[in-house]
């Protein structure tokens, strides 16, 4: 017997999970207060669709701006730090050690500075996501094979051409990986800060409904956050593999093709 293809297996796992979500509370294995059934969660989501979509818009707006700050600033700062040896030696150890600090401890300070509105969430999530983008951009530029630049010079590339035609394309894979992580962290940053102090957004709905023990509404909000993060991840992945074909395909072109076409690998031979 043949094992199912990974893609099929993943889909199966998802279906099983959703089934469990429905069946476990229904059969009374867990009380509905701990885990409301999928159907009741979806029912309140539909019932309160206006509230939830309004909250989603607020969250999306905050996430978009936070990503803009993190990605724009992170790429610019990463390029400067990664490209200039002096700066790199000076700053990279500092940034790398800051990486481990739970930046969420700064959130109260941000609310003091920017208030409890969207600004404090944007600022916090922006900073939170900034570091991975910057560090991976710096790493991407630093780890470019010097042979690439040497070859370009031997072919008469000017300094500008070396940057635009070699350094930028060569660092794209690492930069994209950073953007993917940065975007995910921006979502986390926004949701967490909404859960802490806010008057709007999906994170706020989680906190609000939790305090009144309205489990289905808490889970409805969680479900939306889950879908938002997964959708972002898949979007980023698709964009990435389109932009840097040579990177993702380089490892195993056959497998990548088969997977995208939905053909089980073992049929190919």
């Amino acid at each position: 017997m043949r094992l199912p293809a990974p893609a099929t297996a993943r889909r199966g796992m998802l279906v099983a999970l959703l089934l469990l979500w429905e069946l476990v509370p229904r059969t009374g294995l867990l009380p509905e207060l701990f885990l409301p059934a999928l159907s009741s969660t979806l029912a309140v989501l539909w019932q309160d669709r206006q509230i939830y979509s309004a909250a989603l818009l607020v969250t999306l707006y905050e996430v978009a701006l936070a990503m803009l700050i993190a990605c724009g600033g992170g790429i610019a700062a990463g390029a400067v730090v990664g490209g200039i040896a002096r700066l790199r030696e000076l700053l990279l150890p500092v940034f790398s050690s800051l990486y481990a600090v739970p930046i969420v401890i700064l959130y109260p300070v941000f609310t003091a500075w920017f208030g409890v509105g969207p600004e404090s969430k944007i600022a916090f999530a922006g900073i939170y996501a900034f570091f991975p983008v910057m560090l991976s951009t710096a790493a991407g530029i630093r780890t470019i094979d010097p042979q690439f630049i040497l070859a370009a010079r031997s072919m008469g590339a000017t300094l500008t051409q070396q940057v635009t035609r070699v350094i930028i394309p060569a660092s794209l894979p690492t930069v994209f990986a950073g953007l993917r992580l940065g975007g995910a962290l921006a979502i986390i940053g926004v949701v967490v800060s909404e859960m802490l102090t806010a008057a709007a957004g999906i994170g706020y709905l989680v906190t609000l409904n939790r305090t009144i023990l309205d489990s289905p509404r808490v889970f409805a909000a969680l479900l939306m956050i889950l879908i938002l993060s997964v959708a972002y991840y898949m979007l980023a992945r698709a964009f990435e593999s389109r932009m840097v074909v040579w990177q993702s395909a380089g490892r195993s072109p056959k497998a990548a093709q088969n997977e995208s076409a939905g053909v089980p690998v073992s049929v190919a031979v």
């Binding site: 094979d145 042979q147 690439f148 040497l150 070859a151 010079r153 031997s154 072919m155 008469g156 590339a157 000017t158 051409q161 035609r165 070699v166 394309p169 060569a170 794209l172 840097v244 074909v245 040579w246 990177q247 395909a249 380089g250 072109p253």
Partner: protein, 265 residues
């Protein structure tokens, strides 16, 4: 366009070249009093122990690194900056750009000066395609480097080095990363291309067989600081054949090079 080779004409002239690297732990004398003359259209091979400065010398010939002392003339003019119209360079690791297709890689040097020279995109493409054909990779132009074997990648590198039609080609251990069979084929291919284009080639290798098989003249360098300790003319007839490798003359030439290298500490 083809460069007609006049064997009495000098392509590269190096006089009293020395180089000292200034490192963090003091200075490293890498090259000492190198003088050499490479005739136009000649195939010159440089051999020498690892770390003796072969790559450094090649970088200087390419204008990629400045020497501490001495002069280098390429077709009568000093080479202070990389000049792809005079000198093409092919490196050991096929330094192809992984984000470009084979054809785009070959076209890369042309595209760098596309705006400055009145050459249309189609003309550039046609030149790149002609090079692809020359190295025997017709039909592989749309492939990316990761879809090519090591030997094919080096063919693309050679095409890229030749696309601007420079009279001088510098090659730094271009086949070192290849397996022995591919290496032999590539050497043979290189000679075929060279014989149709009559380029001046300076070729670095660690393989003595490859050196004798390819060269008109072999320059042997000493261990660091690198000096030229012997010049060996290889008067085997051309075109070279694999059978020649089994001849006594071939073996004697290879032994002589080995004796020279072995002498150096």
């Amino acid at each position: 366009m083809q460069h007609v080779a006049h064997l009495d004409e000098t392509a590269i002239e190096v006089a009293n070249l020395s180089h000292i690297y200034a490192g963090a732990q003091g200075t490293v004398p890498a090259l000492e009093e190198i003088s050499m003359r490479v005739g136009s259209g000649r195939f010159t091979v440089i051999v020498g122990p690892s770390g003796c400065g072969k790559t450094s010398l090649l970088m200087m010939l390419a204008g990629l690194r400045a020497q501490s002392q001495g002069t280098i003339l390429c077709h009568g003019r000093p080479i202070s900056d990389p000049d792809p119209k005079r000198v093409g360079v092919i490196f050991q690791e096929a330094s192809l750009y992984p984000w470009l297709s084979a054809l785009d890689n070959i076209e890369f040097p042309l595209s760098l000066r596309g705006a400055r020279e009145r050459e249309t995109r189609q003309q550039r493409r046609a030149r790149a395609e002609a090079m692809l054909r020359l190295v025997g990779l017709e039909g592989f132009g749309e492939r990316f480097p990761y879809e090519l074997s090591g030997g094919m990648k080096q063919r693309v590198s050679i095409a890229r080095g030749l696309v601007q039609d420079p009279p001088v080609l510098l090659m730094d251990e271009p086949f070192a990363a290849l397996d022995e069979q591919t290496r032999m084929t590539m050497g043979h291919e290189l000679l075929r291309i060279w014989s149709t284009m009559l380029k001046t080639v300076v070729f670095i290798t660690h393989s003595l067989t490859e050196a004798v098989y390819l060269a008109d003249e072999v320059l042997v360098m000493s261990a660091r600081p690198g000096r030229i300790i012997d010049r060996i003319a290889v008067n085997l007839p051309r075109p070279r054949t694999y059978e020649m490798m089994a001849t006594d003359v071939f073996g004697q030439l290879r032994d002589r090079i080995w004796q020279q290298i072995r002498k150096t500490p």
